[in-house]
Amino acid sequence: MTSNIKILLVADSTHFALTDVYYGYLHALNKLNISFEAFPWHHMRELVVDRMCYHVMHSTALIKEKGFTHIMFIGGLNIPDFIFDNLYHIKSIVVSTEDPHSIDPLKSRLGKIDYYFTNERSVANCKRWDNVYYCPTAGSTHECGKMPPEYIEDNYKSDILFLGATYPNRVSVLESIIPFVKKNNLSFKICGHTQYLPKNSPLNEFVFDSRTIPHEETVKYYNGAKIVLNMFRDIKWNPKTASKKNPHNKSRFIAESLNPRAYEVPLCQSFMLMEDTRPEAREVYTEDEVGFFSTGEDLVRKLRYYLIGNGKDLRGKMAFKAYKKAAENHTYIHRMLLIKSIID
């Protein structure tokens, strides 16, 4: 695949889910033989202050001998304005991952960004901007995959797994399955950020690992779980404001699209029960591939069916179908091919 583009791939500054997206695109660029250099900002800031990182990033992009044509920011929320202002001939690409929850800080900069790839369909469908394109989230076949059972230690095994931040909308649904879990003596594990979980919540009993889970371990948790729950974020909620209302989506974009977990779990060939609150969920997957639930009661019903009922034997087949779909359509390589077709 010959092309004249050369990309400086810039990670987000945070050691969070965005790191997975960064590595996903890094691997995709590598696989597609697209000329690039990586700028692992999240590692650099462990050594030097952010201002120094900006300086190095900007200088690296402009070194004539390197011949960069594009600079690609993963996330982009933490990039200061002056970087976008001073890129001269180099085209800027932002691959956003937090839309529509955090669209406003980047919305004001859209005039300075050459290509803005949003993870949210409703933002891309808005006719207000010409440089906004829809690039859904994805999974990496390099990072995610089926693991041999002997590689999965007992602490990664569970009947029901929820891995992610325990936002209030997720808490209420998760609490509703506790009686079912206790009655059937099931192993239910909650992993990920639990700082939003109230101290008196009965879910605290099920919190197994409250770190920022490294991706290698995430894959082990997915592989070791019989059912992985995937719930979406409440885009109206923000813990950083007094009212707990999200101030970063004033245009009130509706959340329609899926999170990366919706592709990562199937790529691990694990069975997923997905919340049926985003229109895209049923457009991407069918009921033959993943299970859907809309309320706490519905979730209990589906868990009973897929764990101890007749659906027990269906899990493997459904997970395989979902895997095939994700592997053939929803990897970072597919997304990078899409980005390349637009920027090249």
Partner: protein, 128 residues
């Protein structure tokens, strides 16, 4: 004495299903009567223009099947099969790491690999 159960077919390799319903099994290290010599594989005998599906088996278990129904626009040259192998210098033989089948799409090749030891299915995408 209980009746003997039929032995399970533990075949590992791919099956080429043809339009006429016949099936060709992948063979390794066999004598080709057509070429009159010892061959590493029988891939040269597989007629891609007659293929309707490729199925990858591991220990007799079907791991993945890709068929023309899923990809109606497929051309004969789009079918793909290969091995990842290395030459074991000590024992002087070729060791298969994984067996792969796949198809070429518009701008990339979609490959499914089954690891020879564990039987784990993986996906790889290669640019064309």
């Amino acid at each position: 004495m209980p009746p003997r159960e039929p032995e399970k077919n533990k075949f590992t390799g791919f099956l080429a299903h043809y339009k006429d319903g016949s099936v060709v099994k992948e063979k390794n290290h066999y004598y080709s009567s057509k070429l009159k010599k010892e061959c590493a594989t029988n891939w040269h005998e597989i007629d891609k223009s007659q293929l309707v599906s490729l199925e990858l088996l591991w220990g007799g278990e079907s791991k993945i099947k890709i068929s023309i129904e899923e990809y109606p626009a497929i051309k004969p040259s789009d079918w793909f099969f290969s091995h990842y192998e290395y030459f074991d210098l000590k024992n002087r033989n070729v060791i298969v790491i994984s067996r792969n089948i796949g198809i070429s799409k518009k701008d990339h090749k979609q490959i499914y690999s089954v690891h020879e030891e564990t039987g784990i299915l993986k996906t790889e995408i290669r640019p064309l």
